[in-house]
Amino acid sequence: MLVFIFRRILILIPTLLGVSIIIFLMLRITPGDPAELLLGERATEEALHEIREHLGLNEPLYVQYGKFIKRLMKGDLGETIWSRQKVWIEVKERFPATIELSVAALFISCFFGIIFGIISATRPYSIFDYLSMLGALIGVSMPIFWLGLVFMLIFSVNLGWLPLSGRLSVGIDLEVITNFYLLDAVLTKNWAALKDAIWHLIMPAITLSTIPMAIVARMTRSSMLEVLRQDYIKTAKAKGLSQFMVTFKHALRNALIPVVTTIGLQFGVALGGAILTETIFAWPGVGKWMFDAVMKRDYMVIQGGTLFIAAVFVVINLVVDVLYAVINPRINV
């Protein structure tokens, strides 16, 4: 097992290096002067000179890359162009918001996805099965940026049930400790803020959960169908066990093994989808921050943010792989 994990981590290194090379090269091989790209067309000659010195843009590419990697090793993602703040500090401030949103979305999608998948698989080709699989197909085809706006229109504008955007209402005070608002509210026993934070979380989380939910439901159904066909299930039924026991105790355990992998991969989908969802709901996470950076052409933020998100994604994939090996006794590692 340890050897497997070690090997898996070793593969991670060339991938991350490759990611860093791509991100490094993007700024340098884009047509035009990178310094001008960074500062805009109206930058003064001194400012251009300064940024060239600062980033070493006059040196050969491999020297530049060496310095780039050296800084990365120290956890230095550079400085933002507009606010002149460390990119890393900005990421740290915003990442909890994205995690909060993604985890909530994944929780919703797993809960409903698995339930719908199981019911569909136990009643294959029934009307429920057709409807839920059609629903799942619509789910994967959904433009979530549009769905988010439709939710806003219905639940905020027309019905007034849920807040339009943001993470907290104006006037609600919350002592920020971890930047996970739900956690902070619980830690400080601030129940009013907790309720308000949950209220703000519902719409973006459901929006973001659409595609993963559909994928989890489809995966659970097909995996469950496969397991239910096997002999040991017949044995269990022949022993006289109830349908419930057979489904949930015997079948579900094995059926969920491939589903776990799918769920892990959906985290990446959620991280990407967060850019759309956060932009719509003005959710102050990494996604909206990246989008704002694209609009402001702050390439240092784009570069640092992309590296960070890609690294998180790669590590999650690693964890999923290891987890898959742990829960699947048939894989001998």
């Binding site: 993007m26 940026f145 549009w146």
Partner: protein, 297 residues
């Protein structure tokens, strides 16, 4: 003379045609095919079908609701946007934009992916390793992020969005083709082709690849669906189609400011995206049932 011609037996039919003929029995596939055909026709005959020019603005017809709502009229069936442009016409022309985007970006991914995948699978060894590691690197970026970043550097435009989407889709094609080529290379006919001295490219493109078409067709169809979705998302973020191009995602982006006053401006382009993507997904699912022998019972 006619009598001497050998009779065609059912076995002589290309297996792919045989599998495709099963498609008609698959309700999902037929439903998908109908929707897709609808959009293709819409795109093709856009000038004839749309009641107005999609870019004609009208000062007097700003924010007209659809015909069934109070204040709506038959002149603008689905209403107008804030510049008085006819929404139905823009949606019809939008089908053109979305289908072109899908064809170009998936075509790019298909060509590059097939080339890299067959090189990888045929020559194996170090070359295979390098190519597949590069594919892994592309896959290390979460969905949509790489496309957004590429467009951020190249500058927002529909052409760059197509290219960005195309690049991010290369690995899926490369992986499928590599797997199939690896499998086919073990078979006798490849050995025979090598024995008669056929050139490598001939073996790959004429002998092997036609036998890997099934999974490729499925992947292409499903990729059309996600390309339409991703292109709409990029345009929604302002990174794809630029005004005044009638593109569905861009239409939704513009309607955001009007959400309190005119919800129809936002509603219909979204339904168009959903239907087009759903059509390709249905067709892709049906094709997979028909063409992928591994998934057939």
């Amino acid at each position: 003379m006619k009598k001497n011609r050998p009779q065609k037996s059912p076995e002589d039919r290309h297996p792919l045609l045989d599998q495709l003929s099963q498609l008609w029995r698959n309700k999902t596939a037929v439903a998908g095919l109908i929707i897709v055909a609808g959009f293709v026709l819409m795109a093709f005959f856009a000038p004839a079908l749309s009641p107005h020019n999609p870019n004609d603005t009208s000062l007097y017809d700003q924010l007209k609701p659809p015909f069934w709502a109070y204040g709506g009229s038959d002149k603008n069936v689905l209403g107008t946007d804030d510049l008085g442009r006819d929404i139905l016409s823009r949606i019809i022309y939008g089908a053109r934009v979305s289908l072109i985007v899908a064809v170009v970006s998936v075509g790019l991914a298909f060509a590059l992916g097939t080339l890299l995948g067959s090189i990888s699978g045929y020559y194996k060894g170090a070359l295979d390793n390098v190519i597949m590691r590069i594919m892994d690197i592309i896959l290390a970026f979460p969905y949509l992020l790489l496309a957004i970043v590429v467009v951020a550097y190249l500058g927002p435009s529909l052409e760059n969005a197509m290219m960005a989407i195309g690049i991010t889709y290369v690995p899926r094609f490369a992986r499928i083709v590599r797997g199939s080529v690896l499998e086919e290379c073990e078979k006798d006919y490849v050995m025979a082709a090598k024995a008669v001295g056929a050139k490598d490219w001939r073996i790959i493109f004429i002998a092997i690849l036609p036998n890997c078409l099934g999974p490729l067709i499925v992947q292409t169809t499903l990729s059309f669906a996600s390309a339409i979705l991703d292109a709409a998302a990029l345009s929604f973020l302002g990174l794809g189609a630029q005004p005044p191009t009638p593109e569905w995602g861009a239409m939704i982006a513009r309607s955001r400011a009007l959400i309190l006053r005119a919800s129809w401006v936002m509603t219909f382009p979204g339904i168009a995206i959903l239907m087009a993507v759903l059509g390709f997904n249905l067709l892709g699912d049906g094709l997979r049932d028909a063409l992928d022998p591994r998934l057939r019972d």
